[in-house]
């Protein structure tokens, strides 16, 4: 690309950024910020509800103008609901692709929503704890995110929003099937409660598959970092309820909480076993990771996640001192590809990004350890 053309397109992109959007990138999400106070095993909790409007075809079957009418109805409802007053609304058409990717990285929207070429809307509260996606697989996907293991608080928050929305919208529901969703795997409660859990010791001991089989029968799903269809990175897993019909929300949440606690307990035990039986080996892995983070000149995001997982483990095991776990978690957000392009103006070229990522990591780690 010629320089003049590049400058023009950069300027066009700058102009096209919707108002209020940068607020989200200039802050650390509250759910991550508060996580620093708790343990570093269960990182966050999320509950999402799938809801649809009666009569109108669902996003997979609807025409564009019908989906636009869903957006209008939701906008009107959100405008009338007190707890939504501070939410920022972004039309999907107005979001540049880079910012959509960054929203995926922040877990505000799903990869599927970002990629689908359908009219859509995102509503997010200033803290990033409550959000609404309009026209994902369902007309509405509403979510509440909390730090650490906080399923009941997330449920309280999301039910409040759900109650308000159902006062203003005709939500598709029958006493027989419950909330009617696009996919029958969500029918009933329409609820997917999930936690993000960091399990380095179980992974190192090669006990993940065994633990999953033991703790997560059919009703619990174990997935990758960004949810369905994505890989596990940095030993971080997403654990969620699989079933949605024939059970109450509270019983699904309670079951997930038990499984999450159990995973956490087994991770603690695996960590203790590592300390008791393989202290030098684990110290070696952690210090080697630290050395790479302090010196590398090229670092892919996958490699970064591998080492950051070891540093978090080192902090938890008190093998490393001086590193602040919140700063490490912030790096996890800001070294993702779209965030680097937005915050550090890195180019879209993967190698240039890897060079810059290594530089950011070096600076951060060297200045704090």
């Amino acid at each position: 690309m010629k320089n003049s053309t590049k400058k023009r397109s950069e300027a066009a992109e700058k102009e096209a950024i919707p108002e209020g959007l940068m607020h989200y990138f200039n802050q650390v999400p509250v759910w991550l910020d508060r996580a620093a106070e708790g343990d570093n095993i269960i990182l966050s909790t999320r509950i999402r509800l799938a809801r649809n409007l009666t009569k109108l075809p669902l996003p997979g079957q609807a025409r564009r103008e019908q989906l636009k009418s869903v957006i209008q109805k939701v906008k009107k409802a959100v405008g009338e609901i007190k707890i939504c007053r501070e939410m920022a609304l972004f039309s999907k058409d107005d979001l540049p692709p880079l910012y959509k990717n960054a929203f995926v990285e922040r877990r505000i929207i799903s990869p599927a929503f970002s990629e689908a070429d359908l009219p859509g809307l995102v509503a997010i509260d200033p803290d990033e704890q409550l959000g609404i996606m309009v026209n994902e697989e369902d007309h509405l996907r509403i979510q509440a995110v909390q730090a650490g293991l906080s399923l009941h608080e997330a449920w309280r928050q999301i039910s409040r929003l759900d109650d308000e929305l159902s006062e203003h919208l005709d939500v598709a529901f029958t006493p027989q099937f419950g909330y009617l969703t696009s996919c029958p795997t969500n029918t009933g409660t329409g609820m997917r409660a999930s936690i993000l859990i960091h399990l380095p010791a179980l992974s190192m001991a090669d006990e993940i598959d065994k633990t999953i089989k033991k703790l997560a029968p059919n009703e619990i799903a174990v997935r990758g970092f960004y949810g369905e269809g994505t890989d596990v990175v940095g030993n971080i897993y997403q654990i969620s309820n699989q079933l949605t019909l024939g059970r109450t929300e509270t019983s699904l949440i309670n079951r997930l909480e038990i499984v999450a606690d159990k995973f956490s307990e087994m991770e603690q035990e695996a960590r203790q076993r590592l300390l008791d039986q393989q202290k030098v080996e684990i110290e070696d892995r952690i210090f080697r990771s630290l050395a790479v983070m302090k010196s590398a000149r090229l670092m892919s995001s996958h490699e970064f996640m591998k080492y950051i997982s070891m540093l978090l483990l080192g902090v938890d095991l008190e093998i490393l001192s001086g590193l602040n776990p919140l700063e490490l978690k912030k790096l996890m957000i800001y070294t993702q590809p779209a965030h680097m392009q937005i915050m550090y103006k890195s180019s879209a070229d993967a190698q240039a990004r890897d060079i810059l990522r290594a530089e950011i990591v070096r600076q951060k780690i060297n200045s704090s350890s």
Partner: protein, 177 residues
Amino acid sequence: MAKKQRCQICEMHSATLRIKALKNGAEVEMHICDDCARFKGLVEKGRESESELAAFFKTASQNILGTEADSDNLQGKNLSCSNCRMPFTKFQQDGLLGCSQCYSVFQYELEPLLKRIHGSAKHIGSRPRPLRIIANQPDIEALKQELHLAISQENFERAADFRDLIRDLEQEENNKK
């Protein structure tokens, strides 16, 4: 879990394709995922890999509704939704319903499928707030049936859920009297 090569564009998904591209006049090899390939226009329609969900549904619907050869006998085969016009065969392909009305039109086809997926085809969770005021009559008899079913299947954790729920509801009813 086996380590896979990651997509060099999005860095999020596993790479499924190896492509050759020209970069500064030199040929470079890149590993990319299906999604990025599709967005870059590199995958022809029909070559896209089947989604996890569609694959699941293919198996689930085949298991519950018979094999493809048997599907000629399916009641729902020629059904279409009167509201959104979606034929049942489309649901069998991609596993997604067309509108909320589809649940009534395809009720008999969906019930066994829901039972297979969730172990139940009866909702016992929360209701939209407006409905709670006018129709919040929990069906205790239906819950008792579910309880017996869970016991007969020796699913005691599930039975305990129903037992607790029935007990709570009966207590609530008694308090009202």
